[in-house]
């Protein structure tokens, strides 16, 4: 690209992927103690905004990343599925913490053994709770996935 001409060539897929991966609007579905770590990631110290995912939207219709943060039990499972169904495509899901990922140590009568039994998940973040660095790494993994996937044009 020269200073005079001012254009560059790329593939549409790659351009869309590049745009989408840095404009993530997240919906935090926070149910338990992992929420504290979510707050820490999203606020000034770890500042998720540096990764282009700074703006939580509290409406599923305006968001494209569902962050499932904390323990999900059978009582709230229909709500989680409804929230996910309400999100417009393209949409992604991060399972935040070991409870959301596999039920964690709550292997009992109440807890869903991993939210992938309710909705499809793109990135799993382990840890109880995960450190903010782990969350950011998970986010970067998701961004890699977004950038390299086939971009559907809706």
């Amino acid at each position: 690209m020269s200073g005079e001409a001012g254009f560059l060539t790329t593939k549409l897929d790659e351009m869309l992927g590049w745009a989408r991966k840095y404009s993530i609007f997240s919906y935090p579905f926070v149910t338990a103690c992992c929420g504290m770590e979510y707050m820490s990631v999203s606020c000034a110290h770890y500042d998720i905004d540096r990764f282009g995912a700074g703006w939580p939207r509290f409406s599923p219709r305006q968001s494209d990343l569902l962050l499932v943060v904390g323990t999900v039990n059978h009582k709230i499972a229909p709500v989680l599925r409804k929230v996910w169904e309400q999100m417009a495509e393209p949409k992604w899901v991060i399972s935040f913490g070991v409870c959301a990922t596999s039920g964690g140590f709550y292997d009992n009568y109440a807890t869903v053994q991993g939210i992938d039994r309710i909705i499809p998940v793109d990135v799993y973040i382990g840890g109880c709770p995960p450190r903010p660095e782990m969350v950011l790494e998970g986010l970067m993994l998701l961004q890699k996935k977004i950038a390299s996937q086939k971009q559907e044009l809706f």
Binding site: H74, A77, P78, Y109
Partner: protein, 166 residues
């Protein structure tokens, strides 16, 4: 067993027919009473000027599966005026798992009794609205009973198939 506290002595003298046993350890007093006398004893403890237990702190239960009687309903009460604490236990048979509701004495008992009903299946007679409080309506059984199958779940929606590799 430590010396009987004045409070235990007082209640014992007042209700010799209802008190089954007592226990006292470092000012931590417990009185086990017959369930027939529950309402009478509780009303007395709340209103008598020597006890004035004006606050109900908690109601819970224990499932002693295998021993008779199977359940114990446990009440923790507190006198804010006289700074007294007391634990009342009521043995409950499995076959007749019901006790009188004490919502008419302490209205705060309402949700506590619903929780005990939800988790242990103990019926509280004359409760104004005895239904589940934590579990959902589709849930069958009472999860804190010791004979509730471990890991038994009642999903409310169709669960997805998940491939597991381990």
């Amino acid at each position: 067993m430590a010396v009987e506290s004045a409070l235990i002595k007082f209640v014992k003298e007042k209700f010799p027919n209802f008190v089954i046993s007592t226990h006292s350890f470092r000012n931590d007093d417990t009185i086990v009473i017959r369930k027939e006398g529950l309402k009478q004893v509780m009303t007395f403890l709340k209103t008598d000027k020597n006890t004035l237990f004006n606050m109900l702190v908690d109601i819970t239960a224990v499932d002693n599966l295998g021993s008779e009687p199977r359940f114990e309903v446990i009440y923790h009460i507190l006198s804010l005026t006289l700074k007294l604490r007391l634990r009342i236990k009521v043995p409950v048979e499995e076959m007749e798992a019901e006790v009188d509701s004490i919502t008419s004495i302490w209205p705060g008992a309402n949700w506590f009794e619903r929780e005990v009903f939800d988790m242990f299946g103990i019926i509280f007679k004359n409760h104004p609205d005895l239904k589940r409080i934590l579990m959902y309506d589709e849930f069958e059984g009472h999860p804190l009973r010791k004979d509730f199958p471990l890991k038994k779940q009642f999903p409310r929606i169709q669960m997805r198939e998940v491939k597991t590799k381990y």
